[in-house]
Structures are given as C-alpha cells and as structure tokens.
Assembly symmetry: C2
Homo-oligomer: 110 residues x 2
C-alpha cells in the first residue's frame, strides 16, 4: 500500500472570511493609526501580503491584536502562503455592504 | 445722531467652520455610536438642526462633548438660529478633502 503525500497547497485559508460588520464596527476598526496603516499597505486588489510588511513601530502581539480587529470587522482575511500568515484586503465585500466607504478611505492620502 | 439697532440676524455663525481634519481624525470622530447617530440625523443638504433633535440617551454635557469632537474634525459646524444653537453637516467640505467617505457613511444604514 502506498500513501501519497498530501499536496502542498501554495495558499490555504485557515479561517473562513468573516461577514463584514455593521458600519460602526467597520469605522471603529479603521479609526486607529496602526490599523489604518495596515489597510493602506494592503493591495486593493486583494493580493495577500505577509504580516511583517504591514506595520512598523509596534510589537508582534500588538500587531496580532490589530489584525484580529480588522478581521473580525470583515475588512481583511487571513491566509497561509508558503507556511507564513498573510492578510488580504476584502475591498469588494466591504464595498458590497458599505458602498463607497472603504474606497473613500483608500483614496484619501492625508 | 441716530444709532440704528443691529439687525436681528436669523442665523449667526459664532464660530468659523474649522478645516476638515485628516482621515484618521475624521474616522475617529465618526467611529462612535452617539456621534454617528448625530451625523445620520443631520440633513445632508446642510440645513442646521437644533441640538436637541440630534441625540437621545445621553446628557446635555455629554452631547456637547460629542458635538465638539465632530466640529473639531470639520464634520459639522455650529450656528445660532433664533437664539438656539444648531448644527449642520459639512458634507461638501468633507467630501472635498476625503472624496466618497462621508457619502459612504451616510449611504450605509446598518
């Protein structure tokens, strides 16, 4: 009997993406300097980026806390690419529930 | 010599409207249940509304604190109409600095 090795997935989704939260929760998720910067550094096209490139100046556990708030608001989703945790922006999902909001946030550079 | 009485203005602006703040400050101003409700109750056309119709469930001094945060972010402006303090939404000014943001907030009802 031969056992094939499990295929090595390039990308896995350990968590299903959560539903996009109501307006207040999404605003609360975005209204923080660390989290706003994370969102701004993510590709609007939804390409996953490794955690480490998404923040500066805070420790890893603080960053995890902020990623969790964004994820629970439905603004980002988590995936594992090449064994490393990545995050991706859920622009379409957020726009579907709150049209214009996240696009407005991304368009504003100040 | 005759001195004419000062004309009784229907509306006076005791404060110049403040510049619209940067994105983070505007998001922080909106990301609060009392302030979000105030913004939602204001006429998008900028018609001033008396303070008292813009909130429930908090005291007058708490409401004043929230109005101040919105005003300092440039989201609302204060005026006096018939001797009473009113507030008006500054949709055009906010849209000019952060296109799409406040319209997105107003459009989302959940």
């Amino acid at each position: 009997m031969t056992v094939s090795p499990a295929p090595q997935a390039a990308t896995t989704r350990p968590d299903d993406a959560l539903p996009v939260a109501g307006l207040l929760e999404v605003l609360e998720a975005l209204a923080d300097p660390v989290r706003l910067e994370m969102v701004r550094r993510l590709d609007p096209d939804g390409t996953p980026a490794p955690c480490a490139v998404l923040y500066d100046g805070v420790g890893k556990s603080t960053a995890s806390h902020h990623f969790k708030i964004l994820r629970e608001a439905g603004v980002i989703e988590r995936s594992v690419v090449g064994g490393k945790t990545h995050h991706a922006l859920r622009l379409d999902a957020v726009e579907e529930r709150h049209p214009g909001l996240l696009r407005g946030v991304l368009a504003s550079r100040d």
